[in-house]
Symmetry: D2
Subunit: 350 residues, 4 copies
C-alpha cells in the first residue's frame, strides 16, 4: 500500500547507515563528548553564522521541547504557543508535567495570531504591573513551530515582528524545527538558517523527520541561555552512545562551501518539498480543493467523506480534522525518501 | 477609607475568636486528628446528607485546588476549566507546577460554555479512540467554581447537565467553593448543599472568605476517590495545629436543626449577599450600569474611566478588567462582616 | 492527662489573640502586603542586624523548607542534610516531590558529622571535576536544624566551620529554625541571632512551636538569593489574610531595646527551656538516664519498656525510638506555655 | 589506544545494522506499533515464560528507571536502593526530579545488605503503623541492579529472600538490567531469565550495553502493574521510529529453540563475560589484586597509584574509586564486541 501518512516512516539516508557501519567497531567516548558530535556542532555553528552557539543533540521532539523549556522557565513563568502548537496538543502534557503552563494563543493555519498575542501581552502587563505578577503565569517564552503543524511558514517579516514583540515584553523566542529542513528548503520560504538563528534565542533542527534515524539538534543562539548537561541527563535525554547523533548530524550538515544549501540535509529536504508541491499542483488540477496553502512537505485537502473508505484501502494518509459534517481535512506527507514513482502512483489512483 | 475590594479583608466571626481563646491553653493533638476536626467533619457530613463523605480541612484555596487535583489526575490526564477559572488565571500555574494541564474552555460570565465543552469532548474522543490517547491530554476532571469568579451561579439544571456529561465522558466533577456560602445563601440560587454534594465528586466549602480566619473544607463525596493524608503532608498543606481549622468549621457549621440554613456559616454569608444585592439595586437606581447580573456578594459595574481617579480616593474597589477604551469593569465585594452603615456610606458618595 | 508529647499543642500567646481580636473588623490588604507584615519584617531585620534581609512569612515548616529549597536548587543540584534531619525523615518526601534530592549525611545526636561531610564533598569534587557533574547530584545547599530534632545545638565554632566548608564548596547554608527560640534562648547556646543570620544564607524563625497559632518567618540574609512571591503563590503557601502572620510576628518580635532578649518570643521560649532543664535535672536525680545532653526544650531519656504501659496512662510523651530490646528512648517536650505546676505534676508521678 | 573503560563504546552487532539497512526504505508505523516491536515483544514473553507480560522498548537506562518508577510510585511512596545503586548516585537525581525519594540502603559490593534492609523496614513499619505513614516516605519498590554496578550478582536464594521480604512489606521488586546479559550468561549466575521474570514485578533487559545501538526492553511481569503509554510519551521516552527498537530486540532475542541461551543476545553477552574472566585470571596470575570477585564483564583491581600515569597512556580504563591514600580501584570492562586479540594486547602491556 502507498503510505503518505507521515514523514517519519523510513529509516535514514544511506550515507548515514554506511558511515555508522564503517565505524561500528571503533570505540567512542559516550554522552556526546566524541569527535563526531564536536564536528557536527562545528558544522551547525558555521551554517548558522554563530561561532558561539551552544549545540546539543537530543533524541526526539517532545523530549527536546521539554528540556529546552525546562532550562528557561522558572517558578510562575509560562510559554505562549499557538493553540494548535505541538506542545499544546500533541505531547501528552509533557511541558506541564515538567511544571510549566502552556498559554494557548489564537492561531490561524498553525501560525500565532500576532495581533491577538500582542493584545494579551499588553493586557497582562497592564494588569500585573499594578497588582503584581505573583498570582499569574508570566509569559517568558514564545514557542513557534517552523514550519507549523499545518505546513505553513512564518515570513521573515513575521519573525522580525515576533522578535520585536518578544524584546518589548521580555520573552525568549523558541522555534520548534522538527521539520525545519522542509521549511527552509521550500521555495515559499524567505528566511535563511542564519536569519532564523539570529532571530530566535533557541531553535532546533529536526533530524528524525529529515533523513536521520532519530535526533534533534538544539541551537542556543542567545549567550544568556544555556541548557545544562545535568538537566539533559536528569531528564533521561542524554544518549549513552551520543556519537550516534554526532555521526548523523555530521553527515547531514557537512558542507564544503559552508552554505546550508549544499548540505545533504537541505538537498534531501528539498526533495520532499518538490514532491509535495508537485503532488499538490496535480491534485488541484484533478479538482481536489486545498485546505490551506502549504509551501512545505505536508499538503492538506478537503475531501468528501464519501470517498474516504475507498481511498483508505489504497493509500495511507492522515485524517487531520473534520471540516464539516460531510467533509474531512486529509493530509498527505512526503519525506526526504519519497520518490517520483511513489507520487505518480498516488496520483494515478486519486 | 471605605473598602470593598475583596471579601477577605476582615478577621473571623467573633464566635470563632472567642472559642479559640477559651481553649487556648488546652493541649490538642496535631495534624487534624483532634476532637474539633472530628466534630466539624461530622457536622459537614450531616449537612451534605452524606454519612460517608471524606472531609479534610486545608488552609487556602490554591493549596486546596492543587491537592485535590493532584490526588485525582495521573499521567497524561488534565482538568477542564472555564478559561476565566481561578486555576487557569489566578493561581500562578499551581496546577501545572504539580504536573497537570489545565485545558481552558470557552466561558461566559465565568461559567463554562456547556455546548462548547461537549463539542470538545466529542471531538477529542472521536479522534483519540482511533489514534490512541497517548499523545493527548485526556480530560479527567471538570473544574467549576461555585459561585464563579464573576459572581454567577450554575443552576441545578446546569449542574445536572454537567454531571451527565461528566458521566458520559468519564470525568470527575469538582467544584471550587471558595465563596460557596455566598452562592448557596443567595436568593438567586436553586441548588442546595446536599444537591451540590451529590452532583459533585469533590467540592470545597470556603472558610477564608466566609467568616473564618482561614481554612477550606474539602468534601470528597465519591467513595472511589480519596485524598491521602500523605499527599497533604507532602504538599506542605497539613497544618500542625489542625484543631484551629476544626474549631473554626465546627463553629461555622454547627446546626441544631441539621439544616444548613441554620448554620452560622449560612447566616453570615446571607448577610453579605443581602448587602450586595441592596448595593446593586441602589447603584442601578443611581444610573450605574451592571456589567453582569450577579446574585452573590460580588457586584460588577461598567464605569466611565473619567470617574475612577476621584472614586479611588474615597473607596477601594477592584478594577476587574477593561471594558472598552473609555470604560472599566469595576467590582465591589461585600463580606460576612459588611454592615448596613458601610453600604450606606458607600452609596452616599457614589 | 498530662501532655508533654510535643510543643505545638497549645494555641498562641494571649497577647497575640488579644491583638487579633482588637483588629478583627479592620480591613487589611491581603497576601502579606499589609502594615503588620511590614512592621514585623522591620523588627526581624533589626533583630538580625541586617537591614536588607528579605523576610517572608509562611504557614508551616514543611511548606517553608520546600519553598526555600525550591527557590535555590536547580536541575541536578541537591541538599545535604543529617540523615536524621526533618527534611530527610519527617516531611513525607516533600523536597523530592518538588524535584530535589536530599543527600543524607552521617549524623550524631541530630548534628551533621562535619568530618564525614567534608570527606563526601572532597570525594565528589575530586571525581566530578574530572568526569563532569552531569551524572551526579551536585550538593548546593547544606540544611541544618537549629536546634536539631534531638534538641542539640551547633556551637558558634561549629557554625563557623560549616560556613567555611560551604564557602569552599560553593554551598548555601540553610537553618531550619522550627524551634529557633528554644535554641537561642538556651543557656547552652553560644550563638546569637545576628550571628546565625550572618553565618546562614537563609534560615527561618519558627512561630508554630514558639507562641504563635501558626507561622514561620523566613530570613534571606544573602542578597544573591531571593524567594520569588510567584513561587510562594504557586506552592499554595501565600496566605490570603497574610496580616494574620504579620500581627503574630510583630507581637512576638517587638523589642523596644532592639535586643532579641527583650522580645516576647525570646522570653516565652526561655520559659520552655527553663522548665525543660528543671525537669531534666529532677529526673536525673530520680535516677532516669538521659539519652543525650539536650540544652533545649526537648528532653530524652532511656526508659525501661516495663514502665511504659503505666506511664502512658498518666502522661502523654513521645516514644522517640527503640534503644535496645528492652529499652525505649522517650521524649518530653515543654513549650512556651508550660507551667511550673505542670512540671511538678509530671515529676510527682514519675 | 586500547579502551576498556566501559561497555557502550561500540555500535551494534552487525546483524542489527544489516537488518536495519535491509528495511531502510520500508514505511513503518510509528511509536512502537509496528510488526518488529510486536515480534520482539512476543520473543521476550516466550523467553520469560510469561505470555501476558507487558513489554515496552525505551531508549536509555535513566529514562527507563524514571518511567518505571514513576508508573508505580504515588504520593509519599519511595524506592529503596543500595546506596551505591545507579539511581542513587549516577542518574543526576532523575528519580527525585520525577518527585520520588530514593531511600538508600547499606550495600556491600553493590548488593543490598538484606539484613539491614529488613531492620529498616521493620523499624519503619513498627513506628508508622502507630503514628501513621503520612509524615514518612513509605517504601513501595525495592530497586536492585542485576548485575550490580560492581559486577556482582544476586543468587537465586538472594532473590527469593528479597521477594519474600517484598511480599511481607508490600513492596514491588524492580531489577535494573542494563547489563542483564552479562549477568545471566555468567558461569557464576544461578538465576535464569524466567526465574528473574517470575521473582521480579518489573525488570529491564538492557540493549545499549549488550549489542544494540541503543534500547532497553522493559518487562512488566506483575499483571497488577502497567506502564501507560501516555506516561512514556509525556516523559519524552516514546521513540517516533519505534521500529528501530523493535528490529534490534527482535534480532537480539530471536531463538528458534525458545531457549534464552540460543539468542544472539545471550551469545554475545557470554563472549564479554568469557573475555573478562580470562582477563581477570591472567591479571591475578600477573600479581594484580582483585578488588571484588566479579563473575561478569566488569573487573575491578586495586592498583598502586604509582603505575596509573603510565598505564593511562596505553589503555583507557575507569578509575572507579579511591582505595586508600596510595591505591585506586580501577575497572576494566569488556563488551559483546571485545576480541581475544584486544585482551591479549591488554595483557601484554600490563
Amino acid at each position: 500500500m502507498l503510505k503518505f501518512s507521515c514523514d517519519y516512516m523510513e529509516g535514514a539516508h544511506p550515507e548515514i547507515l554506511s558511515r555508522l557501519s564503517s565505524i561500528n567497531f571503533d570505540k567512542n567516548d559516550g554522552y556526546g563528548l566524541d569527535e563526531y558530535c564536536e564536528s557536527a556542532r562545528e558544522n551547525l555553528r558555521k551554517l548558522c553564522c554563530n561561532d558561539h552557539a551552544e549545540v546539543h543533540f537530543l533524541v526526539g521532539g517532545t523530549q527536546t521541547n521539554t528540556v529546552v523549556l525546562d532550562s528557561i522557565l522558572r517558578f510562575n513563568e509560562g510559554v505562549l504557543a499557538a493553540s494548535t502548537g505541538h506542545i499544546n496538543v500533541h505531547e501528552a502534557g509533557a511541558i506541564e508535567a515538567a511544571g510549566h503552563k502552556v498559554i494557548p494563543l489564537k492561531a490561524s493555519n498553525g501560525k500565532v495570531d500576532i495581533a491577538a498575542m500582542e493584545r494579551l501581552l499588553h493586557l497582562l502587563k497592564t494588569e500585573c504591573d499594578v497588582v503584581g505578577w505573583e498570582h499569574y503565569v508570566a509569559p517568558r517564552v514564545l514557542y513557534i513551530s517552523f514550519p507549523t503543524e499545518y505546513g505553513s511558514l512564518y515570513t521573515l517579516a513575521d519573525l522580525k515582528q515576533l522578535r520585536s514583540i518578544c524584546d518589548e515584553y521580555g520573552l525568549y523566542l523558541y522555534a520548534d524545527g522538527a521539520r525545519l529542513g522542509y521549511g527552509l528548503s521550500s521555495p515559499g520560504c524567505d528566511v535563511t538558517l542564519p536569519e532564523l538563528a539570529r532571530l530566535c534565542d533557541v531553535f532546533y533542527l529536526g533530524g528524525t523527520k529529515v533523513g536521520a534515524l532519530f535526533g534533534e539538534a538544539v541551537v542556543v543562539s542567545n549567550p544568556e541561555l544555556t541548557i545544562p548537561r545535568g538537566l539533559i541527563k536528569q531528564r533521561g535525554a542524554m544518549l549513552a552512545k551520543g556519537w550516534l547523533l554526532g555521526v548523523q548530524f555530521d553527515t547531514l550538515l557537512a558542507s564544503t562551501t559552508g552554505r546550508f544549501e549544499d548540505t545533504l540535509y537541505y538537498r534531501i529536504a528539498r526533495n520532499a518539498v518538490d514532491r509535495a508541491l508537485h503532488l499538490c499542483a496535480e491534485m488541484v488540477a484533478k479538482g481536489y480543493e486545498k485546505y490551506i496553502d502549504s509551501p512545505t512537505n505536508q499538503q492538506f485537502f478537503i475531501a468528501d467523506n464519501a470517498i474516504l473508505p475507498e481511498l483508505s484501502q489504497k493509500v495511507a494518509f492522515d485524517s487531520f480534522s473534520a471540516y464539516d459534517e460531510t467533509h474531512t481535512v486529509i493530509r498527505f506527507c512526503t519525506s526526504w525518501a519519497t520518490t517520483a514513482a511513489q507520487i505518480d502512483a498516488l496520483l494515478s489512483l486519486l
